[in-house]
Each structure stands twice: as structure tokens, then as C-alpha cells.
């Protein structure tokens, strides 16, 4: 039993890490890895299916799909990583403070967070991005804002459960001020939860970014983004399905990778939480 369990976890973490590494390589080295210029249009060959010269086919402007997928990973990683970071830093800080201090401050912060959670995720993000103008930066901000209350809640519950613990009492006893306690004692212990949640969130951020680009609100043309590639190929689903299937599969694999990584981490850190 035990060996089997560890093997499964191990496999998940390994797979997830491989995906992450591949993505990072793709993003960083895209211009060198891409066989063609992702912007070069060969209109007369548009929508060609995968073939020898263009392994993933060509898009509606006759641009090489493989090159665009590779360069598109930059957008996904940038949005995924940055928005999660925003949520983590801002939301995490608010949550830790609210959880530790409690009382009126807690109430105020959490009520504000509730307000942000009132709307379904995508709609909130759509409104924010439309208000600020559709581009990469605002997509990051929009998705990041949606993450903030979720992180706040998570951090808060960690802080609440941790503040009763002995070592906090001990720290107080020797005269540590509130902020120090939060930063040096509560935070490191809450961190593991936050890290796991972050890894899982990247997957969600990918999906949100894809949905935004699909609706035309994400990164602006001609820069490639996996979601906008699906949107461009939508009208040709019948005649050139590769335009839609390939970017979708790539998104799915990336999200699966991050999900397995996050869950693997969760198992390692806290085996009780998901019994296998």
C-alpha cells in the first residue's frame, strides 16, 4: 500500500515538474526554438493541416502554428505567474493580517473581500479588463484581483489556526510585536498551504486567460496566445479542426501539469489532506 501511494505521488510531482520545466524552456527560448517567424504570413497556404514542413499546421493567416504555440507560452506563463503572484502577495498579506489581528480589522478586510467574490470569476475579470482596456497587463491585473479574496481567505484561516499555537504565545511572551510575529512566525507556517494553492491556481489562471483571449480581451494581436488561437480558428472548426484542437490540447496539458504538481506537493506536505 505505502509504496504504491508514494509511487503515485512521485509520478504526479515528476510529471508536473516536467511540464513546468518544458514550459519555462519554451517561454525563455521560444525565439530560438521556433522554426519560423511566428508573425510571418503565407496567406495562400492558410489553414494548412499539420504536415512535414509545418508539424502543427498553419493558422488562418498562414503562420506556423508550432512557432506560435511556443511563443504563446510566454503569454500564458506571464499571465499565469504574475496574476497568481498578485493574489498571493496582496491577498495573502491581507488574509494573514486579518486572521492574526481579528476583530474590526478582520471584519473590514473580509467584508471587502466578500464584495469582490460576489461576482462569478469570469464576469468580474471581464468587467475589470474592459474598464482598463484589453491588453496583457490588464489581463494580469484582472485575474490577479480575482485571486486576491481567495488567497485572503486561505491565509486568514491559516493565521487563525496558527495564532493559538504555542510558539506564537512564546513569541508574544518574549515581547515580539504583532508585525514581527506575523512575518516571522505565522507566515512561514502558512507558506506551505499558500504554495500548494498557488501551484493549483496557476492552472486556473491559465484557463481564465484562455477564456479572456477567446473573448478577445486578452493579449492583443498579432502576439500569439493560446486562447486567441482557439478563437481565430473557431469559424473553421469543420474544415480545419487542427486550429482549435491543438491549442486546446496544449492548454489542457499545461493545466494538468500544474494540477498534478500542486496536488503532489500537497500530498508531500500534508499527507492527511488527500488520502490515497
Amino acid at each position: 500500500m505505502k509504496w504504491g501511494k508514494r509511487f503515485l505521488d512521485h509520478r504526479g510531482v515528476v510529471f508536473g515538474t516536467i511540464v513546468l520545466v518544458l514550459l519555462l524552456i519554451a517561454a525563455v527560448f521560444a525565439p530560438y526554438l521556433a522554426p519560423f517567424d511566428p508573425m510571418e504570413q503565407n496567406l495562400l497556404d492558410r489553414r494548412s493541416p499539420p504536415g512535414f514542413e509545418h508539424p502543427l499546421g498553419m493558422d488562418i493567416y498562414g503562420r506556423d502554428m508550432l512557432s506560435r504555440i511556443l511563443v504563446g507560452s510566454r503569454c500564458s506563463l506571464l499571465v499565469g505567474g504574475s496574476s497568481v503572484l498578485i493574489g498571493l502577495v496582496v491577498g495573502g498579506a491581507c488574509g494573514l493580517i486579518a486572521g492574526y489581528y481579528g476583530g474590526g480589522l478582520d471584519n473590514l478586510i473580509m467584508r471587502f473581500m466578500d464584495l469582490l467574490l460576489v461576482l462569478p470569476s469570469l464576469i468580474l475579470v471581464i468587467v475589470i479588463v474592459t474598464a482598463l482596456g484589453p491588453n496583457l497587463l490588464n489581463a494580469i491585473i484582472g485575474i490577479g484581483v480575482w485571486f486576491i479574496p481567495n488567497y485572503a481567505r486561505l491565509a486568514r484561516s491559516s493565521a487563525v489556526s496558527l495564532r493559538q499555537k504555542d510558539f506564537v504565545e512564546a513569541a508574544k511572551a518574549i515581547g515580539c510585536k504583532g508585525f514581527r510575529i506575523v512575518a516571522r512566525h505565522i507566515l512561514p507556517n502558512a507558506l506551505s498551504n499558500l504554495v500548494v494553492y498557488s501551484t493549483l491556481s496557476v492552472g486556473t489562471a491559465f484557463l481564465l486567460e484562455a477564456a479572456l483571449s477567446f473573448l478577445g480581451l486578452g493579449v492583443q494581436p498579432p502576439n500569439p496566445s493560446w486562447g486567441s488561437m482557439i478563437n481565430e480558428g473557431r469559424s473553421y472548426l469543420q474544415t480545419a479542426p487542427h486550429l482549435v484542437t491543438i491549442p486546446g490540447l496544449v492548454i489542457m496539458l499545461a493545466v494538468i501539469g500544474f494540477n498534478t504538481l500542486g496536488e503532489g506537493l500537497r500530498d508531500i506536505i500534508d499527507p492527511r489532506s488527500t488520502l490515497k
Binding site: 508573425m39 510571418e40 504570413q41 496567406l43 493567416y61 492583443q220 469559424s235 469543420q238 474544415t239
Partner: protein, 534 residues
């Protein structure tokens, strides 16, 4: 009887007789609509989705034939009384769908309602300087203009703003009239289920031959792809806006009939003539050489448009072929040559040209999304074409609402990123006055508190004079010549770069007989002559 009415009646008679022989009679025409109508009151509707429906409900004084001649419709004849007055003689024994009579009072009511300065009809701007209507007697009206305007009969055909409405119905329904339209047309309104369907049925007391069809059902299917599937599976019979990508497939299929004709919409890139690199005529010429209009028509618009060779389309009165395609053939090397003479050369081998200080030649292409066929795709392709010619080009795409707001603001006041080329598809009534004056006359430059349509900021005294003289003249030959000169002038100035003329294309199943395509897009949805084969 007018020529048009005669030929249509004959057609209907033939179709009906054939129908009796072949078993056609009545039938229901199911049409796919991309978006639901906003209002079936010509007053409240600004765009295609509503207009394509009420075209079958309403009629107006005159009708524009496919070759541009103006024919009688609800008016049997007309004559010019003086420089500011045109008298129309109305058809007798015409009834509205609610049983009331069509007469001078209805004409006065409809037209003055549309031009009411406090609450104008949404598209009344296209009517020109019409000031009011005077009733002479029950079947004679005088339409007055505020300045000499030779195209009054043409404006009188503008069914999308002055489709004749029943005054009693408007009074009865008030604000809700948009959902209970009453006109004189061959079909009357039955029901409207928001976002699902609109149903019309034959009006038995129509003043002409009653229509063949029993019913018309408009189904709202927003997704073009779903519309295609619906057509394929026999859930609808007619598509008013088929996907460009499928047109070739429809043409080669025995199951469908494709109707096409060059239309009136000219797709062009306007150039900012006031500020920035495009203010220089030579730069505009270089840009024109960098654009491959043939490729755009073939590959992006999938053969549903033809390259533009002038600033107007052939369906406009006053059109002259100034061979833009030949003068500015696709030649990126020529572009680079022109830029070279201006001091822009590729000094560092990156494919883009720079000046002596190392700055690249930045051009921003601005385009809307979802408003014109393949607008977004065209802009993206143009950006690439410009880059290949050495320009450091960027593309900025915004939803139509934002786009039109930015265009309309006066230059200084924009608070918006500067753009140098903007994408527009312009179409007006088929007379050069409205098209050229609106886009290129210096009077129409957007100013604070007044939004005009001269978004290129074209200010050319010679052009202004040509346009003004032509507008005021009543001599058609003189006007044609003046407009020809204007187009020659513009061919050198290049205030905008037209690249295509869109075709009007409609696709039906082979069961649909009798449909007639028309260059004017607002006649596309006219289904009076149609009969369904069983």
C-alpha cells in the same frame, strides 16, 4: 404602372403560375438573423439587424433600381417645383396594415418625425438637408429642403429612416410602437419573441399583387457557424450574411444558390492627414504600394470582395475608374524606394527602416472588431504587410463602440493612443454627394462639440470647391464630370487608401425561387418576389 412594378408583378405572376403547375404556393421562408432586431420602428433602428426585417413591412415614396435609376413606389411621380421644393404625387388606394389609409398626412407625419431635431431617427443623417413636408392635398406633398439639393427623390427612397408608418398606430402604441410596427408593405407583423424569432405574414390587402409567401420567420442564430449548420440541415432557407469562407463551397454545391453583386460598401484605410508620418503625401504613397489589395480580397475576404479602383464603387452615380490598383500596384520595393528618398533606410539590417537618428518609422493601424467583414483580420494582415515594407507597424483593435467614439472626437481632444491608419467600410445612398462630401469635405472635420465624418482631416480647397459645385448643381452631366475630377485629384492626394468593394452575397437553398440581389445592402432583405418550391 412603373417599369419596376410591372416587371416584379410579371415575375410574381409567372412564379405563381409556375407554382400552380409545380405545386408551389405560399410556404414559409425561414431566415437566419445574426442578431436580434433592436426596434421595428425605422425611427429607433440604426443598423442592419432591425432594417433587414422591416424592409418587408414598410415602403417609402421611391425605389432605387439595381442600375441606379429611381422608380416610383408609394409615389407615382414627382417634379421639381423650385430649388428648395420637390412635389410628390402619391399612389391612391393604399392601405396600412391596420386598415387606415395611406395619404399625405401619413407622409408628413413619417418624414417630420424622422427629422425632428429633438428626437431624430437614428439614420436620418443620410437623408440630406430635408427640412419638412407640406401637404398640398390628400395625395400631393411638397418635400422642402434647407438648401438646394438635387437628390431629393433619392433620399425619398431611404426606407430605413422614412419607411411610411401609420400615424394612428404610432399614437396608439407610443413608446412601444417599435414592437408593433404597422406599414404598407407586402407583409405584416405577427409576433416578436426577443432573441428567438420574428414572424411576418402576408398582407392580403396589399396595394399590389399579394406576396407569394405565407409567412416569413426570422430566427436569431448569432453564431455564423451555427447559421451554416442550420442551412445545411434545412432548419433555415436563407442566409443574409453567409460566412465569407464558405461562399466558394456554397457555389459549388448543388443544394444551394448563391446570389452576388458588387455592392456599395467601400473598404478603406483612412490616413491621418493632420499629424504624424501619414501627413506626408509621399508616405501615403509608400503605404499604398505596401498593401496587396488583391491578396486581401482573395485570401482574407475569400473572394467576396473585389479590389477598389476608385474612392467610390461602380454603383454610385458619379463614379469614375481612376485605376488605383494600377497607380499603386503592390510593390514593397517601391515603398522602400520612396521611403529612401525621404531619408528612411534600413541601417541596421532588422528589416525596418530608420532615420539618421536611428528611430523607426512608427505607424499604428487602428481597426474595429466585428463591425465589417474580416475587419480584425484585415488589420492584422495590413500590419504584417507594412512591416515587410519597412514600417514599424502596430495594430490596435477595439470593439466598435470604443472605436467609433475615438474616431469621432476631434484630434486634439482624444486622450487616446495616436493612430495613423484607420479601417472603415463606408456606404451611403448611391450618389457621390453623400459619400464624398461626408468623408472628405473640410466642413465635416470633427470639431469640439460637433462630430463630423471627415476622420482623415482632409482639408483641400480645390476638392472642397469641386464637391460644393457638384452638390448644388442640378445638371447630372456636369455633376458627373465634377466628381470625376474630384476622384482624379484624390487619386494623387490619397487621403485614404481604398482596398476593396464588398459584394452583396446571399445564400439560399434551391427551394427558394425568385429572389433578387441588389447592390444596396438595405434591399437585401426584401422578400416580396420570393416563392417556395415544395
Amino acid at each position: 404602372m412603373s417599369k419596376r412594378m410591372f416587371s416584379v408583378s410579371l415575375l410574381i405572376l409567372v412564379v405563381v403560375l409556375l407554382g400552380q403547375v409545380l405545386g408551389m404556393a405560399g410556404g414559409t421562408l425561414r431566415v437566419a438573423k445574426t442578431s436580434d432586431a433592436v426596434s421595428l420602428d425605422p425611427h429607433g433602428a440604426a443598423a442592419g439587424p432591425s432594417q433587414e426585417v422591416y424592409l418587408n413591412i414598410y415602403e417609402t415614396l421611391t425605389w432605387i433600381a439595381a442600375d441606379g435609376t429611381i422608380e416610383p413606389w408609394l409615389a407615382t411621380s414627382w417634379e421639381r417645383i423650385d430649388d428648395l421644393t420637390m412635389r410628390f404625387y402619391l399612389r391612391k388606394n393604399v392601405k396600412f396594415h391596420d386598415g387606415t389609409d395611406f395619404n399625405a398626412a401619413a407622409v408628413k407625419f413619417t418624414i417630420e418625425r424622422a427629422i425632428d431635431p429633438d428626437n431624430p431617427a437614428r439614420v436620418a443623417g443620410e437623408l440630406g438637408p430635408i427640412a419638412g413636408v407640406d401637404i398640398v392635398d390628400n395625395y400631393r406633398v411638397d418635400v422642402t429642403t434647407s438648401e438646394p439639393f438635387s437628390s431629393v427623390p433619392l433620399s425619398a427612397a431611404h426606407v430605413i429612416s422614412i419607411g411610411m408608418v401609420s400615424p394612428s398606430a404610432v399614437e396608439e402604441y407610443g413608446d412601444d410602437y417599435g414592437r408593433h410596427p404597422v406599414g404598407t408593405g407586402p407583409f405584416k407583423f405577427v409576433e416578436w419573441i426577443a432573441n428567438e424569432r420574428i414572424v411576418l405574414e402576408r398582407f392580403p390587402d396589399y396595394w399590389g399583387e399579394p406576396a407569394n409567401l405565407d409567412k416569413i420567420v426570422y430566427k436569431v442564430i448569432p453564431d455564423l457557424q451555427s447559421q451554416h449548420f442550420a442551412l445545411e440541415r434545412g432548419e433555415v432557407d436563407l442566409l443574409l450574411n453567409p460566412e465569407p469562407a464558405r461562399v466558394l463551397a456554397y457555389k459549388s454545391s448543388p443544394k444551394f444558390t448563391v446570389y452576388e453583386t458588387p455592392g456599395l460598401r467601400v473598404m478603406l484605410f483612412g490616413c491621418d492627414m493632420a499629424e504624424g508620418p501619414t501627413a506626408d503625401k509621399a508616405v501615403r504613397h509608400a503605404i499604398a504600394h505596401a498593401i496587396d489589395a488583391n491578396l486581401l480580397c482573395q485570401a482574407i475576404l475569400e473572394g467576396t470582395a473585389v479590389p477598389a479602383n476608385s474612392f467610390l464603387a461602380s454603383g454610385y452615380f458619379g463614379y469614375k475608374d481612376v485605376d488605383l490598383g494600377g497607380r499603386y500596384s503592390y510593390d514593397p520595393d517601391k515603398s522602400k524606394e520612396i521611403l529612401g528618398t525621404l531619408g528612411w533606410k534600413d541601417r541596421n539590417g532588422d528589416g525596418l527602416v530608420e532615420d539618421t537618428a536611428g528611430q523607426t518609422l512608427k505607424i499604428t493601424v487602428y481597426a474595429p472588431e466585428g463591425r465589417y467583414p474580416k475587419d480584425r483580420e484585415t488589420a492584422i494582415t495590413i500590419q504584417y504587410m507594412l512591416t515587410k515594407a519597412g514600417f514599424d507597424a502596430k495594430v490596435l483593435i477595439e470593439p466598435w463602440g470604443t472605436y467609433i467614439a475615438s474616431l469621432s472626437k476631434p484630434q486634439l481632444d482624444k486622450g487616446h493612443e495616436k493612430y495613423d491608419l484607420f479601417l472603415i467600410g463606408f456606404a451611403t445612398a448611391p450618389d457621390a454627394t453623400q459619400f464624398l462630401d461626408t468623408l472628405y469635405h473640410s466642413k465635416m472635420i470633427p470639431q469640439a462639440g460637433y462630430g463630423g465624418c471627415n476622420w482623415t482631416y482632409c482639408e483641400n480647397a480645390q476638392l472642397d470647391e469641386l464637391l460644393e459645385t457638384a452638390r448644388a448643381s442640378f445638371d447630372q452631366e456636369e455633376r458627373a464630370e465634377l466628381y470625376g475630377e474630384a476622384q482624379e485629384l484624390m487619386a494623387d492626394e490619397l487621403p485614404s487608401i481604398p482596398y476593396a468593394v464588398l459584394e452583396e452575397i446571399v445564400v439560399t437553398t434551391t427551394a427558394v425561387k425568385g429572389y433578387q440581389i441588389h447592390p444596396l445592402d438595405f434591399y437585401k432583405g426584401y422578400f416580396y418576389p420570393i416563392a417556395m418550391e415544395e
